[in-house]
Amino acid sequence: MSSELARYIGMRFIQFLVVVFIAVSVNFFIPRLLPGDPIESLIARLQSAGGSQEMDSQAIIDNFREKYGLDKPMMTQYLNYWRDLFRFDMGVSLSSYPQPVSQMIRQALPWSVGLLATATLIAFTLGSVLGALLAWPRSGRIIRTIVPTLLVLSTIPFYLLAMILIYLFAVLWRIFPPGGGASPTLIMEWDWPSFVNIVHHGMLPGLAIVLGSVGIWALGMRSQTVSVLGEDYITFAEAKGLAPRRIFLRYGMRNAMLPQVTALALSLGHVVSGAVLVEVIFNYPGLGALLYNAVRGQDYFLVQGVVLILILTLAVLLFIIDLIYPLLDPRIRR
């Protein structure tokens, strides 16, 4: 491994650590620095919900404080928070008491990752090909009308597209279910009917994400391809008499793809933000809907846990992309 590559990986790893540090710190400090005491408001809510005025709320509050170490100095709490995280201990859900937050997240994570990974992969591939074709002088009229339309769609947030899709395909025409991850009656197994059921439910949310993001990738790929097609080696390849298809695929697309991978890394956060809301609209059993329900139920620990996992999952993914990048771009490997 050359020193340049080591330096590159080292920088990326620092970046990864910074993201983790920001995520954990924000998660810890924001609720504590903002005015209002979560425990007291929790008790107040419990009281008004239960209608009992008789309980000794101060004793309960003190008990909670002690249990979560809220009476200790801030720094001690902060260090404890880190220690608990390394044990995957993210507290206990308040709304589905006493289910551990980590367990609820573990149930939701595969749904989100599955939906998002599939949709993003389709959108990224489709968008890159369409964008490259748009820049290619020989491509036809159809490409030139489809891509700008997709571009217009991509300025609309995913969840608003999702609402339109639900109305068209689930209310008016009833082709796809309006929400959920699978039929409530389905017994989940590793077999064909389960798979079909899940895909059937995933079609609309997936379509919303694909329609909403394919234009972004197409736009980026188009400008990359335009500048690549202006390079001398393209002129040289044409002069050599290479087949246009070969020039397009091997010389044009291949070189334009590199910046696309960087763009993918930078836009994933945006895509995830949008997907969270899509899950809410569809009541999809992933992290987004879990987060929404946690916020609605003021489930303090669950909100924190989901947010943390959301950021960490993305950070890990980006780190992996960063590690793959040198394989694609020999200039970094040298």
Binding site: V19, G36, T155, L160, I166, V171, S273, I311, A315
Partner: protein, 293 residues
């Protein structure tokens, strides 16, 4: 050497770009769409009775008719009136958040680009890290912990996550401008580094700051609407995001009340498209190297 009369320089550049056909049709389209929305916000109130947007003021659940052009919602609000009053509110939050974000981002970008060293390293690493964090995650944490959400707090919260683009743009520009010969001339002429920053570098940053302002406002508006659609907005305000939230809460989708959620979606889409096209157009103007593309 006196400072260059920057605004005039910028304007002559604008005129030249226009005559050379460098101003993209995207800019014209974008500004036209935004102009249309502004007209809707300014002229709309002349034709409506603001009271009709209050709960229970008209018959609930009416589909569009001659009396209620866009129908009414389940709580008895006239949708057209609501839309006319909600659109400027949404724009206002977006503009405040955008201005705050760009202001904050520009200052950080100037610090990073001008002073280099460890300040630059810290700002760059944090900005890069923040760009990869899904904004909604942090927005939800903050918004969920604020007891009384107001428009101003909302704008501040969103701005705190929308400064990175302008920081990166400004920093990159400061770094290239610093190397230009006229900066060298100014330095030899004995201008202090602050003078150079404000009289030589700042004016040249203007087009870039405007371009990133448009992009940031777009991000901010969508972030605000997203938070509101989750029910984390200022609940008493009439905004497009809150309208979406109310329609979701009453399952307007499944009840087939398309006139409740479709018009706000169309307005949001138009705002977003207008800002997007404007920002693409500005990018080409501010960044002539993109013109080839």
């Amino acid at each position: 050497m006196t400072a260059a009369p920057s605004p005039r320089r910028a304007f002559s550049g604008l005129r030249r770009s226009w005559s050379e056909g460098r101003i993209a049709p995207a800019l014209i389209w974008g500004l036209s769409i935004l102009g249309l929305i502004m007209l809707f916000c300014l002229l709309g109130p002349l034709f409506i009775e603001p009271r009709d947007a209050l709960v229970g003021s008209v018959l609930p659940r009416q589909s569009p008719s001659a009396e209620f052009w866009l129908g009414t919602d389940a709580q008895g609000r006239d949708m057209l009136t609501l839309l006319i009053l909600a659109t400027p509110n949404t724009l206002k939050i977006g503009l405040i958040a955008g201005a705050l974000g760009v202001g904050f981002g520009t200052i950080l970008g100037l610090i990073a680009g001008n002073f280099r060293g460890w300040a630059d390293a810290v700002i760059r690493i944090v900005a890069d890290a923040m760009m990869t964090i899904p904004a909604i995650a942090i927005l939800v944490i903050i918004a969920g912990n604020i007891e009384q959400m107001t428009v101003e707090i909302m704008a501040l919260v969103v701005a705190s996550l929308a400064w990175m683009v302008s920081t990166r743009t400004v920093r990159a520009q400061v770094l290239t401008i610093r190397e230009r010969s006229y900066i060298e001339v100014a330095r030899v002429n004995g201008e202090s580094s602050l003078e150079i920053l404000f009289r030589e570098i700042m004016p040249n940053l203007l087009p870039f700051i405007i371009a990133s302002f448009v992009a940031t406002v777009a991000t901010a508006i969508l972030a605000v609407i997203g938070l509101e659609a989750l029910g984390l907005g200022a609940p008493q305000e009439m905004t497009l995001g809150n309208t979406i939230y109310w329609s979701q809460q009453s399952s307007a989708l499944l009840r087939g009340m398309w006139w409740w959620w479709l018009p706000p979606i169309i307005v949001i889409a138009l705002i977003s498209l207008g800002l997007f096209l404007t920002s693409i157009g500005f990018d080409r103007f501010a960044n002539p190297r993109l013109i080839r593309a």
